[in-house]
Amino acid sequence: MTLRAENIEFSYNSRRVLDRVSLHLRPGRLTGLIGPNGSGKSTLLCCLDRILKPGQGSLFLEGRDLARLSARALAREIGYVPQNGAQSVAATVAEVVLLGRRPHLRFRVGPEDRRAVQEALAALGLTGLAERYFDELSGGEKQKALLARALAQETRILLLDEPTSNLDLRHQLEVLDLLTGLKESRQLCLAVSLHDLNLAARYADDLVLLHQGRVAALGEPALVLTPENLARVYGVRARVDLDSRGRPLIRVEAPLPPEEIPSGGDTRNHD
């Protein structure tokens, strides 16, 4: 199962947030979406799941046009984990995870649904918390519960919006290790937006660097996370070393004064 986006455009009112974004998600690979605040990462994830309908461009799921799929069929193929999983209604962890079965069931919860929920809870070590209320959990536990919901949905494509943003160091690594494990064991397609460039460099197989709604660079982490790209997109002076596995290690040294930020990446000035 692969998901291909071609020339996606999206505007909020008249402000263009995504401009001709193309990318390809493949099984068994974690694609990291990086870029400064407001560069369009969250909007892109929402467009990939058609939570927001792109104004232009196409999405293909294994060659089929995504727009032709029913809402339920789509929800059986693509799972989405929002950044802050605000739960407006008091619900238990088990109830939150069971919601992931919504695309698969009509009214009754069947044995297959119960199995999927148990497995998802177990995969994230939440079995003991199943009957606790979601809003009583810590940030890390909440993040895991939302991930468990997406796992119970049993989709082969998973889109995650900043799954590590509310977590302390240890939980960040735990969640990303877990995603890596799932990616390999279940051959999932993962698209994950990340704020922390070093985490992105360490865990992503491919990176998509977004800048003002456009793809500024795309490819292996070592090719994307270069001092030039970081200067152009983030406006910082950074040193990039390679670790023993050839992954980039970024040390940000200073913000660049505005006149020293290269404008080459801001293609908006050119056309």
């Binding site: 209604v89 109830e95 919504r102 069931l105 009214f107 209320y133």
Partner: protein
């Protein structure tokens, strides 16, 4: 650490609510001027259930023809208002919302006042003039609020706000009508605004029962979608819920329920807000259980309030709308004060 309510306990709570409702029905049917008490009424029901025995005629007539229509009307009206409240709270993701807040009740009041004061008959239905008018203007109020909010490409907050604004406009119009009304018309309007079940007839029950049943089944059918909305709009989308359609369908359904009920009973406002809250604290927020339980609680609340309204200052009868506010308000505050859990946050 709070433990949740298990599945079997939810089934148990539903059963207890059902049993409590049966007891309330018996109690409600035992209050009246003719002095047939609990024992007689229980015997009448028992004889009705076992056809072998000859029913004791006079008591049976009183119970079935005078008292039962009123009890049944309280049940269907209460259930309808509670279902409407449960639906609107779910799709607008706001615990403070009820059909009354959204202007539906004010809309109904305007239609009724129009009929009572000016004799304007919107649908030309003669005998059901007040009812038909109230229904038309109540629906118009909700649709107006929804369309205005949609025009602004709105969020759910805008729907709530425009509902409140439309409600104020209709309230203003009702006040205007009251101001120009003749003395005897004014009395009728004021009485309608209090809400009461005194004119209960089986005909009304037969009209409302299918509407309420439709509301119950439709909301049960949407139970998973309503649950998904509790996790936020984006998540609901990603779980395959067509949020816009579910929201519109539920709001229309709630309008139909509220407008149908209040057009017959007058403005009974508090049930739609109170019943879903009480029910959530009993059974949790899974709509597969919340929807039917809410209907039972709403039916019970209105029947209890009406029974109290008929018996507290016996033999004088009070409009039930006064009772739901005077008894329901403090009861609700008590529940708010002692609860441990914010069911909607």
């Amino acid at each position: 650490m709070t433990k949740s309510i298990s599945h079997s306990r939810k089934v148990f709570v539903l059963a207890v609510l059902g049993a409590a409702l049966l007891a309330l029905i018996l109690l409600g049917a035992s209050v009246g001027l003719s002095g047939y008490g609990l024992k007689t009424v229980a015997r009448v029901f028992w004889e009705w259930l076992s056809p072998a025995r000859e029913p004791s005629a006079q008591a049976a007539v009183i119970v079935f023809e005078l008292r039962l229509p009123r009890v049944l009307l309280a049940l269907v009206a209460g259930a309808g208002l509670a279902l409407a409240g449960t639906g609107t709270q779910a799709v607008l993701m706001n615990p403070l919302v009820s059909p009354a807040v959204l202007g539906i009740s004010s809309g109904a009041a305007f239609g009724a006042a129009l009929a009572l004061v000016l004799g304007v008959d919107i649908l030309g239905l003669g005998r059901y003039l007040v009812v038909a008018n109230a229904f038309v203007t109540a629906s118009a109020a909700m649709i107006l609020a929804y369309v205005l909010a949609r025009l602004a490409k709105s969020s759910r907050e805008t729907i709530i706000l425009s509902g409140i604004a439309v409600g104020y406009i209709f309230s203003g119009l009702v006040s205007l009508l009251q101001y120009v009304a003749k003395e005897e018309d004014l009395r009728e309007v004021v009485f309608w605004l209090m809400g009461s079940l005194w004119d209960a007839q089986m005909e009304t029950v037969w009209f409302l029962a299918p509407v309420v049943l439709l509301g119950l089944l439709a909301l049960m059918f949407l139970a998973w979608d309503l649950n998904a909305l509790g996790a936020g709009e984006e998540t609901a989308h990603s779980l395959g819920v067509r949020v816009g359609r579910v929201r519109l369908a539920t709001l229309l359904l709630s309008t139909l329920l509220t407008a149908s009920v209040v057009s017959f009973t007058g403005a009974i406002n508090f049930i739609g807000l109170m019943a879903p809250h009480i029910t959530r604290s009993l059974i949790g927020s899974d709509h597969r259980f919340l929807v039917p339980a809410s209907a039972l609680v709403g039916a019970g609340l209105l029947l209890a309030a009406d029974t109290a309204a008929r018996s507290l200052v016996w033999p004088v009868e009070m409009p039930v709308g006064i009772m739901t506010a005077l008894l329901g308000g403090p009861f609700f505050l008590y529940l708010l004060a002692r609860r441990r859990k914010d069911w909607l946050s």
